[in-house]
């Protein structure tokens, strides 16, 4: 009888009798189980997958931020225009003009922060930058251009309204 069988019999006997040494005997027997070695490229594949997943999440977060900024800017512009038609008077119109002007600045600040996020994505690794840069950069610029143009047109429209020509220090 080999020592593996002997050790196993000892453990089984001790386990049945609830002897304290059963656990020590079991540790030895359990060591007979083979361990699995990872496949050769497991580490490389796993790291690559993890980095790709993070790059995708950041790209989605940037797009959501852009969409939210544009939606906010558009809503502010529409609200401002609606206020000037519904309630006349220079205070309301001035507030609407300031809101529209501020929204342009907000959009520009958002664009700057988006550029910072894009730079961060580039720094996170070559693989991530391949996924996140070319197409997304063009898309970002196009959206910024459309949004900025729309808000500038709205701002010009508000300036053209006679009711706006009140105490004009806040007009651009």
């Amino acid at each position: 009888m080999g020592h593996w069988r002997t050790r196993t019999k000892d453990w089984v006997s001790n386990e049945h009798l609830d002897h304290r040494c059963a656990e020590d005997a079991f540790v030895y027997v359990f060591a007979a189980l083979p361990t699995i070695a990872p496949s050769e490229d497991f580490v490389r594949r796993t790291v690559q997958t993890a980095w790709s997943a993070r790059a995708r999440r950041r790209a989605v977060a940037r797009r959501v931020a852009i969409a939210a900024s544009l939606l906010t800017a558009t809503a502010a512009g529409v609200l401002a225009y609606g206020l000037t038609t519904v309630a006349s008077g220079w205070p309301v119109a001035t507030i609407a003009t300031v809101a529209a002007s501020s929204t342009v600045s907000l959009l520009m600040a958002t664009a700057a922060s988006i550029e910072w996020w894009a730079a961060t994505a580039r720094a996170s690794g070559q693989f991530a930058s391949i996924l996140s840069m070319p197409q997304t950069a063009v898309w970002l610029l196009a959206l910024e251009f459309v949004g900025g143009t729309a808000l500038y047109a709205l701002h010009r429209l508000l300036r053209a309204e006679p009711v706006v020509r009140g105490p004009g220090p806040l007009c651009l």
Binding site: A22, L33, P34, A37, F42, T46
Partner: protein, 192 residues
Amino acid sequence: MPTSDAELARQALAGSHDAFSALVRKYASAAINVAARLVHDRALAEELAQEAFVKAFTRLGTYDQERRFSSWFFQILHNVSVDYLRRRRVDSVSLDALISAGYAGPTDENQASSPETEAERRALAAALTDALSGVRWEFREAIILRYQQGLSVGEIAEILEVPEGTVKTYLHRARKELAVSLSAAGWGPSEH
């Protein structure tokens, strides 16, 4: 001085490929072995281990550096494995099938072990694997974490999110069931 897991995690969060690679390299074997004992499939175990590493990487911002990284990671692996077990029925796979898929045998400290001893060890390993597959997966996971990965009862309790007393119960009952199974398979004491 070797870099601690917490420092590697901090560097990986900051964007270091090498730091994350070091963590994966360190825990790859343990993760695959724990998953393999739960799902009885080597290729699937690698998939689950990879999924756990990816989730750990995306959640590195939530890792509390006061906590042991191994405990935090094994908890993620536990959740990934449990999700899989609850979605699918898992069939037993014999040790022979796992060996043909590329098992590496254990490191034998006794380099002079004879072929007979090695054959006996493989037979015992096969019997243990069959016996383990018949044990509840909660007990099985506790046994693997305690006796193969060397984690303490407290760490296992944290990973499985159960009290320490429950872990002790799992271990005790698992060993009893394994003893009964191995005895029935002819590895117990002979009756005179």
